[in-house]
Symmetry: C2
Subunit: 126 residues, 2 copies
DNA sequence: GTAACGAATCGACAAACGTCGAAACAAGGG
DNA sequence: CCCTTGTTTCGACGTTTGTCGATTCGTTAC
């Protein structure tokens, strides 16, 4: 899929410095651009169906799941596909076709970046 | 404000067990109900303006900020108020009027719960 | 009282979103 | 080949969302 747009949430996945998009929320006020980037991640997880799909992939054996394994979330199959695409566009999932089936996998570096965003830091003195 | 609806994201703020709404995303597939609850939190942060407002409060001295301190995010005053209300309804902020001004404060227990949701756990063997 | 200021609510509007059924695409098996 | 199965795309629909200007509410100062 050469034309798919994936957000550059993480600059590189090289050995060490995973380079998150933004500092912790508590460090300083976000700039407009930082907020734009980070909001896309949160928005992607801001839907119950997507959260279930994401959790299903994330908790599946081997760290990946076929669409057919996780389609049981109470919406039609096209809707499942639609949500998986959104998670993929947000950079939270990657997909790979293997024969008949398509497998989705969690992009753990992005998940880590989001966790770092939410990291609690000591309250600044008034 | 007796009629405001605050989501029960955290059962209690008592001394120790902050009782998050849900297990880590990677632990097991979310139930519909867990997803519904957690998605509301993520959704609240899924807008750039709200993220900037939240970050501004979170990073402000003393852990709180007057609306007038953080209104500089490029939207009208009613819109700022609207977004602060959403963050409040999601349980991420609390507010308190002190004289002329209204101060917002981060509900850190909820922030912690969200961070725990995103905690990375080892990939299960296939 | 009334005027001034900060903040919340109201009403309206366009844009974005979630959902579905139908159709198209991809891969494998007769 | 054609048929079946898994997945994505398309088109349409109703709902939700973000935004604003105008108004209202709460508080303080005069």
């Amino acid at each position: 899929m050469p034309n798919s747009k994936v957000l550059p949430l993480v600059e590189s996945e090289a050995s060490e410095g995973v380079a998150p998009c933004c500092p912790p929320l508590t460090e300083r006020p976000f700039t407009a651009q930082e907020a734009e980037t980070a909001a896309r991640m949160f928005k992607a997880l801001g839907d119950p169906v997507r959260l279930r799909l994401f959790s299903a992939v994330a908790s599946h054996e081997g760290g990946e799941a076929c669409v057919c394994d996780i389609s049981d979330v109470g919406v039609s199959q096209p809707t499942v596909s639609h949500h998986l695409k959104k998670l993929k566009d947000a950079g939270l999932l990657t997909s790979e076709r293997r024969g008949t089936w398509v497998y989705y996998r969690v992009e753990s570096s992005v998940l880590a970046a989001m966790g770092r965003l939410l990291a609690l830091t000591p309250v600044k003195a008034a």
